[in-house]
Amino acid sequence: MLNAYNILETIRMIQDECLDIRTITMGISLLDCIDTDIDRACDKVYNKIVTKAGRLAEVGQQIEKEYGIPIVNKRISVTPIAMLAAACPNGDPVKFAKALQRAADTCGVNFIGGFSALVHKGFSAGDEALIRSIPEALDVTQNICSSVNIGSTKSGINMDAVKLMGQIVRQTAERTADRDCIGAAKLVVFCNAVEDNPFMAGAFHGVGEPDCEIHVGVSGPGVVRAALTKYPDASINEIADIIKKTAFKITRMGQLVGARASELLGVPFGIVDLSLAPTPAVGDSVAHILEEMGLEMCGTHGTTACLAMLNDAVKKGGVMASSTVGGLSGAFIPVSEDAGMIDAAVDGVLTLEKLEAMTAVCSVGLDMIVVPGDITAETISAIIADEAAIGMINTKTTAVRLIPAIGKKEGETLEFGGLLGSGPVMPIRNKSAAKFINRGGRIPAPMHSLKN
């Protein structure tokens, strides 16, 4: 039964604690759009997306009204475009990016993800051409996101791809240097990429997924923090319990919205992603949750332990609340998108090394980190390799989204605006890893016994 306390709690979460549905993402398979003629393939891609997702934005708005909860983004994820590019070896993959952009404009969605390639064991037809076209594709489009999977626990790390991605990240930043290097903010390098992720920039629609489905990504760091402030003297296991209960409530909202969207669009419901996704807005920060637990500032000693507990408690609470949980599910730590992380990075307390340790226990990886403009492609590759190794060994998804701040150095800032926020240039080590990166080859898959 409804009671006044519960009603007011829900309204307070939405009004004062920034609770929202971060995204409704429609996953669309483009496998039936493959064609040897690239222009024909692009037309099919455009038509399929517009047919399936034409009503997505409108339905999103209807649900917002019905339940009184903001739905911040309406997005689309598609089959990795490299699979389509493989059929037309002489075509320029950038054409696909432009077709996706046209579809995004027509549907009125915020982003389309899936300008992607999966090369964790090696390059197949279309993969390398697509990867090499990423800098141009992200330069000439605004709402297209790209991702490349370069490693997995089952197959090891493709070091040739790691080397190439270092160059691609740098070129992408260079091509968009006049726009605060925004291109690199739309490009993620994964290890163990998931096929049903609704969050950008890493969303793509895996080949094991159905033709079309709806995923939901919830948010709510502000709600978790507000819940913790009411118990300043609780022990850690009591805190874990509070987080679980809060995550349950947040996820129920996602489940409700996802089920309703699926009903209205006549498309099967995929998954709810349980991630706590921060925004630069006041009161919507994951770092502030960690600080509420008792850290003077995020990034200091103890941060990894707090984050591990938070991440696990969010999953435990969320799993019970939804019929199908998937995606990345955990806590995101994108530096530029989190007010508390920005402060900690400016202060020098939060460093790249600490972030790397945090990624071993949280849901994704080195996310939205601004590095000096003179960083070499090999150093970017080495950072990618380090992060992929954490994912490969620990059987988890890790990712790297670095933004080389072309023409800027430590102490300066990049301003992306909106949900992407702003990031201070963070220091990196100045010794080279070029010889290691230039060796090429593959790091073999790890063994699954004798774990220590």
Partner: protein, 89 residues
């Protein structure tokens, strides 16, 4: 199908009358009202039946929103499912 209308803000004459007036206009039946005034602050939670609503539910939401703006009150009109799903297992 039911919805919850919550009204919070400074007390004035006729709030309940105006809110229930909009309900009547949309053929929405009021099932339950909880209301209190504490130190000039008006707080009301109204449970309404929207099964026989004569327009889109979003139109009702819009009407309530504009009434809220006119009276300087915070009025939320939300489908009851959101509360049920969030607070019960």
């Amino acid at each position: 199908m039911r919805a919850v209308v919550t009204v919070i803000g400074k007390d004035t004459v006729g709030i309940l009358h105006k809110v229930s007036g909009i309900c009547a206009e949309y053929n929405v039946n009021v099932i339950e009202v909880t209301q209190s005034v504490l130190q000039d602050m008006f707080a009301m939670i109204m449970l309404v039946d929207i099964s026989d609503i004569n327009a889109d539910f979003s139109k009702l939401v819009d009407s309530m929103d504009s009434l809220g703006q006119k009276l300087g009150l915070s009025i939320h009109t939300m489908h009851e499912d959101i509360f049920n799903s969030m607070h019960s297992v």
